[in-house]
Structure formats: structure tokens, C-alpha cells
Amino acid sequence: MTPSDEDLLAFLDGRLDADAHRAVATALDADGALRTRLQFMETSGAALQTVPAPAASGLDDVERWVRAQVAPADARHARPVRSAPASTAAAMRMRRSFTWGPAVAASLLLVTFGGVVGYVLGGGGAIKLPARSASTDGSVTSARAPAPAVEPTLPTWMVRVVDYHTLYARDTLTGVAADQSTRIQLEDRLSRKLARSVHIPDLAARALTFHRGQLLRFQDVPVAQLAYLPDGHGTPVALCLRPTTLKDMDPVLVQFRGMNVVRWRADGLSFVIVGHRDGPTLLADAMAAHTKIRAARDI
């Protein structure tokens, strides 16, 4: 009987008894194809030994965020978590509108987190950030000294998107307009690049006017950036999306780089919307964008 790959592995590992070892050796002498498979195993074994211990570099953001999950015991329970009625209402409305995943209890936590305010919707892949010491006005307090500013972790591409958006001013988009023809051409281009139908949501009902779309790229993955201006005044809001293999995730709102950021995943796309609009407003913007995109897909 021809030895299996499992036999060859055990042969290489030295895990066969004398009789079995002899049987495999005999088979190898007689079978060139078997010797080739053994050679492949030896080659891969040698190559795998060249893989060094993983470097710790490049993980600063994640490491900082993980470490931030442990608060000094005296500060952790210093004050109760503050509720946020207005924000809760907005989040609950959004929650009802999303139909992702199994039904879970809609919950909203407003926590101050080392200088970061995070609204976290329960369920899905969202984590409920642990509460830190919070004052009634939402500012960070500590029983001893102010906690260092800690930002929540975001996927690297979102960090780049947010960083990029910090450069946007109202003037950036003033005078840049996208007519219907431009929108259609852009949607075609983005759909081709992202290998799926991309619809630019009309957010006029949210007092947001679409001005410009760009195709960006991060680590060889295309990222669509759709820039909107609030009617009247206010700084730009950007909706960005890119393909993902990750499962759907409920929306999470955090502050990052001094802006509000809502991210979520749905239907093979990862979304982030960023701007200086207040949290509940941006949550509602995200809900509107998602609803429009899903409606366009279902047509």
C-alpha cells in the first residue's frame, strides 16, 4: 500500500515504529512520485524553520488600545457611567433601522474613555468599551490625575482615512460640484474598481450635498471616498467604503483625531463616515447612507 502524506509526515518526524519506518522507506525506494512528495515536505519544513519570531513593531495602536482596557482600580469605578438621552434616542432609531445579524438587545453606552467619548451599540462585533471615570459634563476625571488621552483602535485603513480627512476644510469642496452625469460616471468607475455595485447615496434629507468622489487605495485595496458638504455651514463629511471579507458589524461611534467616526460593515463592504458633526447627527447620517445604499442594491 502506498504510504499516505500522513505516513510521510510521521516518517519525517520520526514517529513511526521500526516496521512502519522500514515499510515507508521501501515504498520510497520504489516510487519516484512518493519521493517527490517527501521532498516537498522536506523543502517546506526547511523553509518554515526560516520564519523568525514575530516582530513587535507596527502594533502600537492596537497595543495601546488593549492596555487602555485596564484602568487603575481606584479610578475604574469612581463615578457612574453617564446616560445620554438624546444620543440614545438617535442610536435606538438607527438600531431599529439596521437589520443586521440576530436580534440582540439594543443598548447604548456612553462612556468617557481616557478623553474619548464612545457610543457603542450592543451586539455584533462591537465591543462595549469599559467605563472609566466620567464627570457629569462628559469630561474625563480621575481620582488622582487625568488619564492620558487614549484613542480607540480603528482598522489601519480607517486611520488613514480619518487622517486624510483632517486636511479637509469647507473650502476644499467649495466650487467642486458633481452633476448627475458625473455621479453616474463615478459610480461606474467605483463599481468596476471595487468589483461590486457602488451607489453614491443622496443625503439631501440629511442636509448633506455630495460634492466629490475619489478612488483611493490602501495596501492594494481600493477605497472609495465620497465627500459631502453640510448645507449652509459646517465642515465636510466623508463616507468611505472598501470591500471586506469580514461579516456584518453593527455601527460603532467613536471619537478619533478630534472628529466623530461611525464605522460598520454590511454586505461585504466596510464603511466609515467621518466628520465634525456631533455624534447623534453622524449616527443618523450613517443610518441614512446605509439605507440608501441598501435600497439601491435591492432595486
Partner: protein, 189 residues
């Protein structure tokens, strides 16, 4: 309300991050996806820190979480798609330098592992790179030890073929093994 992860738990998670990132790199199509997977793993681990039994190997527990998340994210044809899409990315890494093993760099090896069947890549990572025993790796990945050994064996063949020939023929799956007459059972011990 989520239980607060304690200091030791978070330190263990921080220590595990480089290993988790490498595992995520092997399991996913791109660095971006690996970032997402790493983050999702950290989030779930922190959310479920109360379920971790102290005194057990935290890295194994974290590998198990990452493997579980990754598996759940796979679509029906994910394996096939990732093999095809990755080939274009893998080949240029060598730039004509793959004629001898000595010129293959560690990162190339990890990149080539992305062309393997995902389960084989996971098994190979834990056993051949992280140094897990077959039993411990099987426990971390939630499969019988025999299954784990089969994945390692076929992964070793497929990876060696990829290194020597430069163009793997695709994942060496159970189906192809059966066509060769390998049933996953050893004929002798």
C-alpha cells in the same frame, strides 16, 4: 455588562499580538483584512475575557478565537477565490530568486502559505511556526488530532511544491488527496 478584563489578561493579550498578527496574515487575503481580523479578535477576547480560564494557555485561546472568527467570515467559495487572487500577488515576490531555498525569505514563505487551503495554513502555522504539538494545535483549532495531522501533512506537500515549482496547483484538499488514494489514514505506524 461586560466584565472588566484584568491586568494580567491584557498583558497576555499584548504579548500575543505579534503572534496573532502573523496568524491573521496567513489566514487572510491582505494586510488590511489581517488588521481587521486582529482587531475583531482583540475585541472578542476582551469582551469574553471572563470566559478565559486562568492557568491555561492564553495564546491558544486567542488563536482559537481568531480561527473561529476567520472561519465564520469565509463565504462558500472564499477558499477558491483567495487562491486565485493571491497568485498574482505571490509570484512577483521572488523576482527570479526562487531557484534555491536559501534565497527564499521568511515573508515569502508566509505569503506562499496564503495560497494553501486555509485550514492547512492555520494548522501549519501553529505546528511548524509557533511550535505547537499536534495535540495542542488540534485543541486550539477545535479539530481531532488526526485531522490536524492530515492538514499539516498536505500543507507541507503543497507548500513545498509551491516553493520548488513557484506555481502551486491549488489547495491540496481532502478531495484531491482522495483522488490520489490518500485517505487521511496512516497505513503503518
Amino acid at each position: 455588562m461586560m466584565a472588566q478584563p484584568d491586568h494580567d489578561f491584557c498583558e497576555g493579550l499584548v504579548d500575543a499580538l505579534p503572534h496573532l498578527r502573523r496568524f491573521a496574515f496567513v489566514l487572510t487575503d491582505s494586510t488590511s483584512d489581517a488588521d481587521d481580523l486582529l482587531q475583531a479578535t482583540c475585541e472578542r477576547a476582551l469582551a469574553r475575557s471572563a470566559q478565559f480560564r486562568k492557568g491555561t494557555r492564553q495564546l491558544s485561546w486567542l488563536f482559537s478565537i481568531m480561527d473561529s472568527i476567520s472561519k465564520n467570515q469565509r463565504r462558500a467559495d472564499a477558499t477558491r477565490k483567495r487562491v486565485h487572487s493571491d497568485m498574482a500577488n505571490v509570484t512577483p515576490l521572488f523576482d527570479g530568486e526562487r531557484d534555491t531555498l536559501g534565497k527564499i525569505h521568511a515573508r515569502d514563505v508566509l505569503s506562499l502559505m496564503k495560497t494553501l487551503d486555509r485550514d492547512q495554513a492555520a494548522a501549519l502555522t501553529l505546528v511548524a511556526i509557533e511550535g505547537y504539538s499536534y495535540r495542542d494545535a488540534a485543541e486550539a483549532l477545535g479539530v481531532p488530532q488526526g485531522t490536524l495531522e492530515s492538514r499539516v501533512a498536505r500543507g507541507r506537500v503543497a507548500l513545498g511544491q509551491a516553493i520548488e515549482q513557484g506555481a502551486p496547483t491549488g489547495p491540496d484538499t481532502d478531495a484531491t488527496a482522495e483522488r490520489r488514494g490518500n485517505t487521511g489514514r496512516r497505513t503503518a505506524r
